[in-house]
């Protein structure tokens, strides 16, 4: 009896030690042992894609009737907007020409020279404490860890894990995310962090704002380009509230990201890592 108990303890501690070793080996984001994850993610990938397409179809057919009602109103609104936009576009063309000329004068380099790849989101995170998702491209398509992820509106996040056919993206509202950011108006450097409480509302917070910096509601926030992760000048969002604590030196602000994380479907990955690899 005693021997059996002893051997059980032995098995338990052996497993715990092995799992600890596994954890230590896979903790780094670019560890080679990450291949272990392919055991689960590769067979799951086509099934996840299948379920995603079926559920999208169902959602579409349910939404179809609801949308007809709103479509007419939206149509009129959009027509008005289109007229405005055409005006703006003319302006933009003029500014673009001007900008090109000025850039030539300053011999400025173009920002997004990197290759990009479009991805679909095929699965959401399974925990309640995180905000990350799975996309349907992996190392086979040249994606590498820490590649920035954007969509048409602005910054979404970065790639945290790469498997063969899929990758994990940590969004900027996840509690583990922090982005070096810049206020568009005053050009001050700040840090954008995910917050457990704000995450549930799709918001994040701007930390370490020095007291001498003027911040106002409505200010735009963009990436600073100071860290090597994100290219400079990607729109992140705008400030919707400023919170000042009694007796504390600095204060923080709440930022509404330009990306709507609840309705995110397609994203674009900028292949920064692949290019750096080539250069080396």
């Amino acid at each position: 009896m005693r021997r059996i108990f002893g051997s059980k303890i032995f098995i338990i501690s052996l497993v715990i030690i092995l799992v600890f070793v596994l954890a230590a080996l896979t903790a780094g984001e670019d560890s080679r042992l990450g291949v272990v994850r392919n055991i689960l993610t590769v067979p799951l990938n086509p099934l996840q894609k299948g379920i995603k397409t079926v559920s999208d179809k169902v959602k579409d057919s349910v939404n179809f009737f609801r949308e007809i009602r709103t479509a007419r109103e939206e149509n009129q609104e959009l027509k008005k907007k289109l007229q405005q936009m055409e005006h703006e576009l003319e302006k933009v063309y003029r500014l673009k020409k001007e900008n090109e000329n000025l850039k030539k004068l300053l011999s400025f380099k173009e920002q997004f020279t990197q290759e990009t790849v479009g991805c679909n989101i095929i699965a959401k995170d399974s925990g309640n404490l995180f905000e990350s998702f799975t996309i349907d491209r992996g190392s086979k398509d040249g994606i590498s860890v820490n590649d920035p992820v954007i969509n048409a509106n602005g910054l979404v996040g970065r790639v945290s894990r790469v498997d063969l056919l899929s990758s994990k993206v940590v969004s900027i509202i996840d509690t583990e995310s922090s982005v070096s950011a810049r206020l568009s108006k005053s050009r001050d450097l700040v840090i954008l962090r995910g917050d457990a409480q704000l995450r549930t509302e799709g918001l994040c917070r701007l930390d370490y704002i020095p007291p001498d910096v003027e911040v106002a509601v409505g200010d735009k926030v963009e990436t600073s380009g100071m860290s090597s992760l994100y290219p400079k000048g990607i729109i992140i969002g705008e400030i919707i509230q400023i919170v000042k604590n009694e007796g504390q030196f600095d204060y923080y602000a709440i930022v509404k990201p330009a990306v709507d994380f609840r309705r995110l479907e397609e994203v674009v990955v900028i292949k920064v890592g692949a290019e750096q690899g080539e250069q080396q």
Partner: protein, 171 residues
């Protein structure tokens, strides 16, 4: 034996698939249940301790891979939780739906609070109460509600496996 392992592996794969796709639609106030944990605890309530512990380890590692952080945290906690629960399971009356609900509830609370307190001590977020009240407790309740049906499903599966093994060893 190999049939048994194959069945259990497909059970875990199926649960992972469900967890990462369909669960999005039964979310309540942004909180979704944790099917892998319920499956692991159900196994712990019906099987011998080491078997349950390894089932818990497999479910936990699946959870780790789905979340995409370092492998191992949920693996270890599920492993230990299943081992401990399996120690006392012969003394329980399992037809009572409150038994799986209770065990699933307590282990969800314990595991998630443990996880969050570690990341709390490492990074120091000041909204501990919010996370417990708005995320961990609702998740535990949701898990507890789903516990009995999933427990029934898992016990049914194990019964089938046992029956198959029994007839094939007799032949």
């Amino acid at each position: 034996m190999s049939k048994k392992i194959l069945t259990l592996i497909s059970l875990i794969y199926g649960t992972c698939l469900f967890q990462s796709t369909v669960l999005e639609f039964i979310e309540i106030y942004g909180v979704r249940p944790n099917l892998l944990l319920i499956v692991a605890i159900s196994a712990a309530l019906t099987r011998s301790d080491l078997e349950a512990a390894f089932m818990g380890l497999a479910c936990g590692l699946g959870m780790d891979i789905l979340i995409g952080r370092a492998l191992g945290w949920y693996g270890i906690t599920f492993f230990l939780a299943c081992f401990l629960i399996a120690q006392i399971n012969p003394k329980l009356y399992k037809e009572n739906p409150l038994i799986p609900a209770f065990f699933v509830f307590t282990s969800t609370v314990a595991i998630e609070i443990l996880y969050y307190s570690i990341s709390f001590f490492l990074k120091g977020y000041d909204d501990f109460a919010f996370v417990i009240i708005k995320l961990i407790l609702p998740e535990s309740l949701y898990n507890a509600i789903l516990a009995f049906p999933i427990f029934k499903l898992v016990t049914y599966l194990y019964k089938k496996i046992d029956k198959y093994n029994y007839t094939h060893t007799r032949l």
